[in-house]
Every structure is written in structure tokens, then in C-alpha cells.
Subunit: 137 residues, 2 copies
DNA sequence: AACAAGATGCGAAAGCTTCCCACTCGTTCG
DNA sequence: CGAACGAGTGGGAAGCTTTCGCATCTTGTT
């Protein structure tokens, strides 16, 4: 049950938190901005504040429940963390996002970081391009 | 001479533009935010507006003279474009930036994009970690 | 030297995100 | 089960970076 995840993060199980989590889990799109989540909640008749959505998303991020991504759209997007690392292909026309994982790239990154004396904390690889659908038009 | 680069971009050679370019070229740090450039100009006694710095940097970016990078610091940073593509290692403690290029990673990216029907326009790989200096402390 | 197009600087405004604070709710303990 | 306390919330104000609008000033040209 969702609530266990919230409890596990040391957070009280409140209505806003449960609802934010369920929006993230139930949405067809995997990547939602805070605004997206907020609007979805309003549509569902929930009476939450945008500030709360931001707060909750930040707490979820700290708890490892969600990941925050910074694509070049000017706003952060959030997705539930399924544990498996992956990177993103983003269509600059329609904003479609495709996820991928590549062991070889990960491997090279570790090598490069080591070579420069860095201990990796995180990394973000985003490929921007035009997807097949948009290329046709 | 610098002015040729500005002219080549189809821009008038004005004092602010020449100065912004020279700050970018003369700075020891390779990655500067708009604010950094602005402050540097003020220190040098130049009377420019911050809006102009932003405008000029954007024009330089469009002209291919500089590249804009979006690290996760909340503000964009700019560096002069030396033509050779590269990616970045950023220290999350001291913000030190190390550049690197890896043919194997580039190669894999092309393969992955092709595989998903994307035509690559651009990409950004940033590895966040702790550099050797900061790890010691 | 004069002119038109283009640049600039300033302040105002936009967009995203966080802060503040009085009020409300969830949890714990009696 | 209910009271009490600390945590959480909503709404608006405020913060930051970046952009816009416009009157004024420059550049490059004739």
C-alpha cells in the first residue's frame, strides 16, 4: 500500500501526501512537473496548495521515492523512482520522453570520474532530438 | 581580433558586446553565469545593464560563439565555444568543473537515438560528484 | 555630418519555486 | 477514546533568474 512508502520515509500519512503519490503512480505520463501534479489534484477535487505540492515532492525526493529531473524546459519534472537508473531522450518538438539505460555508457562514466579523482554522486544524460513522429511533419 | 567574431555573427560591434566577449575569454574560470559576467564588468568600471548581458549572451549563443549549460545550480552558465564538443564533471561541493570528451559514449548515444527513431540535435551529459580536493576535507 | 536601424539601460514583469505564519490535522500517550 | 503536541497545510507574499518594453543613445552607412 502507498501509505507504507510514506511512513517508511518518516513522514506522516496525510491526505495531500497520499494524493500526490497516487497521481505520480497513476499518471499515464511518467514525467510530471509540480504544476502538472497540482492541476491533476484540482481536477480530482482535492483542495491542496501549490506550495504543498512542491514541499511534498521535495520530501519524496529526499526520501528516494521520486527523482527530480532538470530538462531544459525551465521547470523540474518528477517521476517515481523504480530503483533502476536510466537516462532520457527528449523530443524538442513534442516533449516526448523516452527512457533508456546503457551499461557501456555507465561503465565509461565510472572510468572517467575515477580518472579525474571524482567520486560519482549522480549523473544526468539527456539527449535532445526530434522523434520519428515529429520528423515527419 | 575579437571584433571580427562579433561582426561575423551579423552583430554590430558595440562596447557591451566586445566587453562581454573579452570577459568570457579572459576569465580564469571557463564557466560563468550571466551574473558573474555582469559583476566582472562592473568591477572593470563598465556601465552595462544586466539585461544587456543576458541579451548579448543569448545572441552569442545563437551565433555559436558561446555555449549555454544548464547544471543543476539554478542558473545557466556560459563558456566560449571552442568547437569541440565535450561533457562535464561537476563537483557538488566546490562547483569545480572538469571537461571531458569520450568517443565511445558519443558513439553509443548515436546508436541509442537511432534505435528510438530520434534525430539528435544536442545532448548534455553531466556527472555530479565530489572531487579529490573536497573528498579529503 | 546626418540618418535609419539596431543596441542599450532601466525598471517592470514573468515564471518557477520557496518562505512565512496562523490554522488544522495525525499520532501518541494517558 | 480523547487530549495535547508537534508536524503539516494553504494562501499569499517574496525570492531568484531571466525577459520585456520603451525612451534614449550608437553604430555603420550614405
Amino acid at each position: 500500500m502507498d501509505n507504507q512508502q510514506i511512513k517508511g520515509a518518516g513522514l506522516k500519512v496525510t491526505r495531500p501526501r497520499a494524493k500526490v503519490l497516487s497521481v505520480l503512480q497513476g499518471s499515464r505520463r511518467r514525467h510530471l512537473s509540480a504544476e502538472d501534479v497540482y492541476k491533476e489534484l484540482l481536477i480530482n477535487g482535492e483542495d491542496v496548495g501549490l506550495a504543498t505540492v512542491y514541499r511534498v515532492l521535495t520530501q519524496f525526493e529526499e526520501a528516494g521515492l521520486v527523482c527530480r529531473r532538470h530538462f531544459e524546459t525551465g521547470q523540474s519534472v518528477f517521476e517515481i523512482n523504480r530503483g533502476e537508473h536510466h537516462d532520457h531522450l527528449v523530443c524538442i518538438r513534442c516533449n516526448r520522453v523516452v527512457e533508456f539505460a546503457d551499461a557501456l555508457i555507465e561503465e565509461r562514466q565510472r572510468a572517467i570520474a575515477a580518472q579525474h579523482g571524482f567520486r560519482i554522486e549522480d549523473h544526468a544524460l539527456v539527449i535532445y532530438g526530434v522523434c520519428a513522429g515529429c520528423a515527419k511533419e
